[in-house]
Symmetry: C2
Subunit: 447 residues, 2 copies
Amino acid sequence: MAFKVGLLGLGTVGSGTADILLHPAQRHPLLQEIEIYRVGVRSLDKPRAVNLPPHLLTTDLESIVTDPNIDLVVEVMGGLEPARSLMLKAIAHGKHVVTANKAAIARFGDEIFTAANEAGVYVLLEAAVAGGIPVIEPLKQSLCANRIESVTGIVNGTTNYILSRMQAEGSSFDAVLEDAQALGYAEADPTADVDGLDAADKIAILASLAFGGRIKLAEVHCEGIRQVSATDIAYAEKLGFVIKLLATAKRDMVLGSGNYSQDSAKLAQLQVRVHPTLVPKAHPLANVNGVFNAILIEGDPVGQVMFYGPGAGSGPTASAVVSDILNIAAILKVGRGAVVQDGKPLLDPLLACSHQDYCSIAPISDLVTRFYARVLTHDNPGVIGRLGTCFGNHNVSLESVVQIGLEGDRAEIVVITHHVREGNFREALEEIRSFDSVTVPSVLRVI
Amino acid sequence: MAFKVGLLGLGTVGSGTADILLHPAQRHPLLQEIEIYRVGVRSLDKPRAVNLPPHLLTTDLESIVTDPNIDLVVEVMGGLEPARSLMLKAIAHGKHVVTANKAAIARFGDEIFTAANEAGVYVLLEAAVAGGIPVIEPLKQSLCANRIESVTGIVNGTTNYILSRMQAEGSSFDAVLEDAQALGYAEADPTADVDGLDAADKIAILASLAFGGRIKLAEVHCEGIRQVSATDIAYAEKLGFVIKLLATAKRDMVLGSGNYSQDSAKLAQLQVRVHPTLVPKAHPLANVNGVFNAILIEGDPVGQVMFYGPGAGSGPTASAVVSDILNIAAILKVGRGAVVQDGKPLLDPLLACSHQDYCSIAPISDLVTRFYARVLTHDNPGVIGRLGTCFGNHNVSLESVVQIGLEGDRAEIVVITHHVREGNFREALEEIRSFDSVTVPSVLRVI
């Protein structure tokens, strides 16, 4: 047994991780060289899904991250603290870290990676984004020759499950949420999922990797799916779209140039945002349904590649955690890190996090995108002209204006714009909302 | 300039590779440490898509693979010879190799990897399968904790383009092939693509990686798409399927157990095969159209993950080639390989090819699968009963038998079976083909 692992947490992901490590048959032979040396838990008496010798378990998590025998600490306890402090202490004690903790990495990534570089250790986090789907390592290694242009993902299984069921059944958000909670697909407090916060953590991590700069989480524009109605899903369907909660990070598009900015600045201006989005049915992300996740990466010269699979769950997440453990073991085994510079081992430039500057993130008002808006009015004959004029006055060019149905005695009009600046669109919208007998119950972006 | 690359070939992929190396801006900083040191070409006078200093070009390819200044040889010339000999000579001279050559690797992989292990060098081949889509490295690294159960892919863009157009337009194979040739999507001699040989090379490589054993290419069962008719595509569509050329490698399923064999033998018995297949429309591979490729990997505990993107072309393939170059440069930079064992540098156990045994591949007659068969008959009232009895006598259980149309004065009957042993199905089919007034123009497998 060559490599000793200290496991922090034995919940869903921790049990899945231990289960793989205990059953190496028909897996990579390197697994036989990994030993579970200590497992930190909150309670020693709780019944466990995996069968571990009781002497491995301890409630003293500090003793694990400081144990000189341990090579590698696996943080699968979740939450911000004590996860952050324990990871930092493990790093300070020269241990490599594998974590599934998107919330901690999205918030404290700077601190954690700075400490890791200082100590000459790796912090790997494949499991933090999209569970079992390989995306972090492919971004770092398999796509490293590319200039990444965008990363667009369905990275939250709960909201994708809810939207998929609303689409399939014509049900309301509230009804499906309640059912999803009963079935265990949504938490009792669903805020982090349905308000897009979990997706924001994940796109912040992906953006940082894709664009080689740090991301301030507070600058990620974030809208959830509470306001998505069955009516909008039905209209989107008629127009050839499905509605998905997309997390997007993209080099900023310059309006009118018809092309991406080829800014020579070291760090490009980025858009980083999470919001419900109309996706054309032929788009690769449109067919990603239920709890599945997918991430579409666009790069020069690779074009569009997509990674699809289970975004959560014990087995898939543990697959990513253990693969990270094996990647570190492989590095240690063959002496990478043997080259010492300034007193610390040199880290692999593809696997370590070397960037220190912050990406500049454009305000959402500068976003250039298409919009879908649903307008209700008592005064149909006149209002289409007034809408058109008002949008035109604000430089918002329209692709289509269609009276698509009736709600009670009011006409429903659906407007789809061309690519326009969000700020201009919002100004027009404010004016339209002041019109007599006009309301605008829904506004969504269109990919 | 730290790492010197010798490029063998300056065609489509070679030019794309040089183009990335000459334009490192906004890509990974490690690219700035890669130098194109020599380029081997057939003719010095040919106009080139990239602008390289003429003194780098040579027609003496041997001088590149033996040049002591070169760290890494990139083989993007294609074909079997002299590619094989040059790679072997480069390895013998202690150079790492990056190749896009699926044909050479599928045939001479044994020889090449044995030599590479002997010399302590890496041979990376991300570009050999599915162009720009990361799949080789994810299989080696990101999914390495899994017991792989199956790899199923659309890995040939030409055939997928032809089948997608036949599906969309209702056209015949011959008509679409001719047009694809005119448009440059199919070669003048389309054999390697349409007969499934290119897909067989690729699935042999993927199977070897997924199941940790070598694969004899001659044992890969291979059927192409020439016999797929517009009629079958239309019927499949009515039944909820699309027809795709799938390349599959799978641990053998034991009929009746309802589960995968958990054989404790070191190497599992595998099915490795390429054939047109009916794919349910809701299956992740069903929506992969045109020249796109996708590979679906099923593992324990990850479940199903899919990789999707452009399977060919200069940019996508060069993306994979240059990423492999950078991965080797990263390894060299930080001293991996510094640990020497038996006089040669120890190779990373995840990235190197360590297996030496051959996988046992089951004969196609032992395959357990569902079938689609289209039967033509003059004697409809009697024939359904006779079909059912004959299949039953051979232990072939039927899911549905439907008279679906008329061709001239003959009734067309479409049969879908449950999972049955291929050998039994073929015996039943032989008997049915001997019936008076019955012909069986199409037989396809169903995923």
